[in-house]
Subunit: 200 residues, 2 copies
Amino acid sequence: MKILIIGGHGTIGKKVVSRFRDTDEVVVAGRTKGDFLVDIANGSSIETLFQKSGAFDAIICIAGEAKWANFNELDEEDYYIGIRSKLMGQVNLVRIGQNYLNSLGSITLCTGVLADDPVIKTASAAMVNGGVHSFVQAVALEMENDIRINVVSSGMVADAYEKYKDYFPGHNPIPMEKVVNGYVRSVKGKGNGEVIRIYD
Amino acid sequence: MKILIIGGHGTIGKKVVSRFRDTDEVVVAGRTKGDFLVDIANGSSIETLFQKSGAFDAIICIAGEAKWANFNELDEEDYYIGIRSKLMGQVNLVRIGQNYLNSLGSITLCTGVLADDPVIKTASAAMVNGGVHSFVQAVALEMENDIRINVVSSGMVADAYEKYKDYFPGHNPIPMEKVVNGYVRSVKGKGNGEVIRIYD
């Protein structure tokens, strides 16, 4: 398979890239480095990426940001950081990327445990993750050309645990191999419209 | 209790208004009629509403829209109809309304079964409903002054069933009394951060 991994240099992304490189042809895209540059918060940047890259058998997105802050410190515009990036960035990736997927291809998006089990400071981050979960379930009913779509939602991953553990009291770090397996299951399995929850 | 019901003239809203009028002081707001006019998609309209109305013991929102269309007919801007109204309209209502709630007050938002069990044409509508579910769970962790927040998510309500049943094949109409009870449970109960699912 020819697989595009957006965010392939991130904490999770680099482990996913490493796994798929064992078995597949991997193309990496990122905001600042990679085989192609892309900012998913910008629809025309996504379009340009695919015009340059051509078609894939699978698209994986492990990118997108949202602002973390106390609820009373989040102003309206702060929410739109996550809306334009994590939420609509991934929606636009599906809208545009479906046209650059081979038949029987797949799209795999990325969220996190916040959608189901938030912590403080995540009113905005949880919101956009939850939006992606429902979007994936809805759009899976309408994908054409036998294209599947899923989303991997993992708990705090082991490789980021030291940095973020104070934000997630009592959460158990998720082994990177389990997180990576979520992406493998989405791409190589037959599931469609699934929220693949990797929680502990 | 003094209760503000936004969208109190809608299909669900008028039944909720009728129930609370038996026991409480109800103020109705709506986009085109009511004791006060408000467009929740407009933050300054929300602010103006509360400056005129003063404080409440409970705020109920049964308003907000999103565009329904086939996925391949939804352009990027179409998603922002729901983002500005159903999603950020309700977020802004919480941001602003919390300042006009008496201690021990509550906020009750409104979504629908699409968030969990979408049908075709709802890529945008499901998305914003799911975003509200996660937002409510997250923000409940940070509300001050003992203010609670919940969201009522109901299936296709009986009073709208004839109009919309073809969009919801096999869904069972939810008796209006059950839907209204969801709002009563949120306002008069002690639950916080709950997604009150009224499904069948």
